[in-house]
């Protein structure tokens, strides 16, 4: 009797241990490169330039790499500010447009609605590198080349198909009768959208916002081509410049500290909104 109980307990202990061991191993696999970057970023510049073993600083902790990075070009805060402005503006504009468009596609009937929707979605299939030249020419015509609003326009255009698709699904999941109830309660269209619909599609909005933020924060190619003035660089373009080095020497410590700097907002945003984000992606999956 007690023997069998002990065997069961042992088996359960083994299962739990194995479960956690595998989980731990996979987590380590994912955390390792981040940890490596973090550790290298705290080495003194001279040590960071040497072969990277052991990965942790042996000559003492130093914030020298961060100081070097901060002094780079016209100053790190200009670049971070540019990046933040571009990402935030992209998020705001994308969310507003996709909210309204998603609502329209979900609720109104108009001629060629489905064709229009498919047309918008199908632009995802066009590799954007292939239209970079025309985009550049259009922005030049508009006098927006080498400006942050210009790059924001391009990012918004790139994110809209996915975002509209997301928001349409989010609105589709809200029963029409809730809207009717709000109309009977006397809500105008805008009030109804703001007080009743927006809270209900918030998971969708969070998903759209995260995607728009991450993609525009990390985007490199369009920014590299469209932004020529060093003062307008976003972080990825600046990082490329840091990495290519000055006078043939590359400051690896500065590169790693840049990686840390760029990663921080992405991690923070994701951790902040992950609950919404997961609900947004699975919206409508279970009804």
């Amino acid at each position: 009797m007690s023997n069998r109980k002990a065997a069961t307990a042992r088996r359960r202990l083994f299962a739990v241990t194995r479960y956690h061991a595998i989980g731990l191993f996979i987590s380590l696999l994912f955390i390792a490169p981040i940890a490596w970057s973090a550790l290298v970023s705290f080495k003194p510049s001279s040590e960071a330039a040497r072969p990277p073993l052991p990965p942790w600083p042996v000559e003492g902790f130093s914030t020298q790499s961060y100081e070097n990075l901060a002094k780079y070009g016209v100053g790190i805060w200009t670049y971070a500010g540019n990046s933040l402005t571009v990402a935030a503006a992209t998020v705001v504009v994308t969310v507003i447009i996709s909210l309204l468009a998603g609502y329209g596609f979900s609720r109104f009937n108009f001629p060629l609605k489905n064709l229009l929707f498919v047309l918008i979605i199908s632009t995802v299939m066009i590799p954007f590198q292939s239209i970079l030249t025309p985009l550049f020419l259009i922005l030049t015509k508009l006098g927006l080349q080498n400006t942050l609003p210009g790059i924001v326009l391009i990012y918004v255009t790139l994110h809209l198909p996915f975002s509209i698709f997301m928001m349409r699904n989010a609105f589709d999941a809200v029963p029409k009768e809730i809207e009717d109830a709000a109309r009977v309660d006397g809500a105008s269209v805008l009030l109804m959208l703001r007080r009743v619909m927006l809270p209900l599609v918030l998971p969708g909005v969070a998903t759209v916002a995260i995607f728009a933020f991450l993609a525009s924060w990390n985007e490199f190619l369009a920014a590299l081509i469209l932004l020529t003035d060093q003062k307008k660089y976003t972080l990825p373009v600046m990082m490329a410049a840091v990495r290519s080095g000055q006078f043939g020497s590359i400051d690896w410590g500065a590169v790693q500290s840049g990686v840390m700097l760029m990663m921080a907002p992405c991690l923070a945003l994701f951790l902040l909104l992950q609950g919404y984000y997961i609900r947004g992606l699975t919206a409508g999956a279970v009804k």
Binding site: P175, E177, I178, D180, A182, R183, V184, D185
Partner: protein, 371 residues
């Protein structure tokens, strides 16, 4: 505004004049006229897809009217917003705002109408009192049972102090037991508030028990308007006869032989009053299950064979096949169990026999001769 929201609302009449509705090229409501008296409880019944909800939503202002006029309390509201019509609506899916507490759900409409906070609090609590949802006020709809959600939805309608309540199948998502108690509750609400109410359902029991008058709809047309008793006892046509009443009225073919002689399923029957039909005319006869009598007297009776019987406790439904193969249902109270295959004789209450022309309209019968 103030008149509309006064404590004891005037009982509002409703008038539909030549109302039509089409979705694109599909006509859903055809040229419909209806007058509803103030304080009346009107029930729209009809099969699924006949346009009940559409008609109700047109009255609510949620659906545009293609043609015709809608008057509420004598005022033409055809082009008015739902909120300005003095109506409140209870939806089938409850349609509560999921992200708001019950209190916020009830207060939302008042808030939009810029009612003072103290007044909102008073009205919300008054409604909660009527519906006994006081303890639920701080919960979210997701934390409530179906019956509680429906109460909240009704509460949200009450706080608007509407002239007219509109219900669209409000009980169809509830289980059978809850449906009965909510039905009683809605009847009580009508007694207490006295408002004009329009109630859409496909459930006959709800229609019969709640209605002052029933409006039977089919394919966007009114088939009959009348009190539950009128609609049940004097259906205007075969559709109403078949639709109202459960189990359904038995409809069987007959031929009028002479003024008061009739042939049904090969048997000749002598009637106690003249038939409203010409000699040799084919007619349809309607007999409700409770109007059959099982007899052993063979004169003026139809031979039948039992197919199967359903025992329901207080009654028994006996399904029989007549000589010509038509299936009829008989409601029997008491008596012995009918066994499949058993042969029996059927007689009917002649006063309850309904006569329809082959095209379906009811023919009025002259009353029985006074003996």
């Amino acid at each position: 505004m103030s008149a509309q929201h006064s404590q004891a609302p005037d009982k509002a009449t409703i008038e539909l004049k030549g109302v039509r509705k089409s979705f694109g090229s599909v006509d859903v409501i055809h040229d419909l006229d209806l007058k509803i008296a103030g304080g009346e409880f009107i029930v729209f019944v009809g099969p699924s897809g006949c346009g009940k909800s559409t008609l109700l939503r047109m009255i609510a202002g949620l659906e545009e009217v293609t043609d015709g006029d809608i008057l509420i309390a004598g005022r033409d509201v055809t082009d008015l917003d739902p909120a300005k019509r003095g109506i409140a609506m209870v939806f089938q899916s409850y349609a509560l705002y999921p992200h708001m507490s019950v209190r916020e759900n009830l207060a939302f409409g008042l808030e939009i109408a810029r009612t003072s906070a103290a007044e909102i609090k008073r009205q919300v609590e008054a409604a909660a009192e009527i519906l006994k949802i006081g303890p639920l006020l701080d919960r979210r709809p997701g934390q409530l049972s179906g019956g509680q959600r429906q109460r909240v939805a009704i509460g949200r309608a009450i706080v608007r102090k509407p002239l007219v309540f509109l219900f669209d199948e409000p009980l169809s998502n509830l289980d059978a037991e809850l449906r009965v108690s909510m039905r009683v509750e809605i009847a009580r609400l009508h007694r207490e508030l006295g408002n004009t109410m329009i109630y859409v359902t496909h459930d006959q029991t709800e229609a019969m028990t709640l209605a002052d008058r029933i409006v039977v709809l089919r394919d966007g047309r009114i088939e009959q308007v009348g009190s539950p008793r009128e609609v049940y006892e004097n259906p205007a046509n075969l559709f109403v006869a078949g639709f109202i009443g459960s189990p359904r009225m038995n409809i069987i073919d007959g031929i009028c032989l002479a003024a008061n002689r009739l042939s049904i399923a090969g048997t000749e029957i002598e009637l106690d009053r003249p038939l409203p039909a010409a000699p040799q005319e084919a007619i349809k006869l309607g007999i409700r299950p409770e109007h059959w009598l099982i007899t052993d007297k063979q004169a003026d009776a139809l031979p039948a064979q039992v197919e199967f019987a359903e025992y329901l406790g207080s009654t028994q439904y006996v399904h029989c096949r007549l000589a010509n193969g038509e299936l009829v249902t008989i409601e029997q109270r008491g008596g012995t169990d009918a066994k499949p295959g058993e042969r029996l004789w059927l007689n009917c209450h002649q006063a309850a026999l309904k006569i329809f022309s082959m095209s379906g309209e009811a023919r009025r019968r002259v009353p029985a001769p006074i003996e």
